[in-house]
Symmetry: C2
Subunit: 137 residues, 2 copies
Amino acid sequence: MAEEKQDKSEQFVCSACGDKHPQERETGCICRCPEIIAELEQCMPCEEEIYDVSELFRVLGDLTRAKILFALSQREMCVCDIAEVLGMTQSAISHQLRVLKQARLVRYRREGKAVSYSIADHHVKTILSMGIEHVAE
Amino acid sequence: MAEEKQDKSEQFVCSACGDKHPQERETGCICRCPEIIAELEQCMPCEEEIYDVSELFRVLGDLTRAKILFALSQREMCVCDIAEVLGMTQSAISHQLRVLKQARLVRYRREGKAVSYSIADHHVKTILSMGIEHVAE
DNA sequence: TAAACGTATGAACAGATATTCATATGTAAG
DNA sequence: CTTACATATGAATATCTGTTCATACGTTTA
């Protein structure tokens, strides 16, 4: 009976490769063939790599942090000056600098009582300006 | 008396410009001069522009959406195929595609019952690959 | 027209997160 | 050593956000 079912044209012409495939997809969707699904699954980056990328963008994707990075892309600054430029509290800035530090997007060094922050590397500047460019269209 | 106070070296040598400035900063920090603060405030992008940039990165900064964009950067795909490749439900993918649509990062077109999604423009691919490059180091 | 299928969406819930407040830490000056 | 100042941080809170579930919508086919 299972045989009969299979013989009774439980197949469809794949729109992607032109071949015929049995309807064995879990989702029920038959618009693409299983081979192509498998191929895509194969060429996807590994979980860790793709997580790191989304993590990078997540850190950039906050208004306060974006402002901080813009300011630091102009010049090295201490915490309270960043706070003044952005019109925010020292505590809020400090918390966000911690996030940026952990993501290795900024560097810091002590200068007496103050701590001076700066952009970690030119890569960060490049990604930032890519973002501006895209938004400006 | 206010005059006396000012005369009594209520000034400091600015480490940035070498000039002397009165201690009139609200935060109390005197590590940078007011002129430089003002200059930075001036060269900061307008609120709307910087918001749009952070918004762009915010949308990219989610694991599921990053995966979707990676998949779509390989080929145009329908919703249920994306769901299968990522091993997630159709609903979850559809909700995220809505976010990507609103951010104009993906395009879509009906193909019979199915809806095919694709990357909106090459700019998106570029930003994505910049992210990968940065993470790979 | 009814059934099947692919997709979209509203409500609900759990988990993440940004700011505030209070306070601790580290450094320099008196 | 005490005081002042710049920064860091833990706790609390309000807000945001991603997934699930149920269901509606739109298209095709019988």
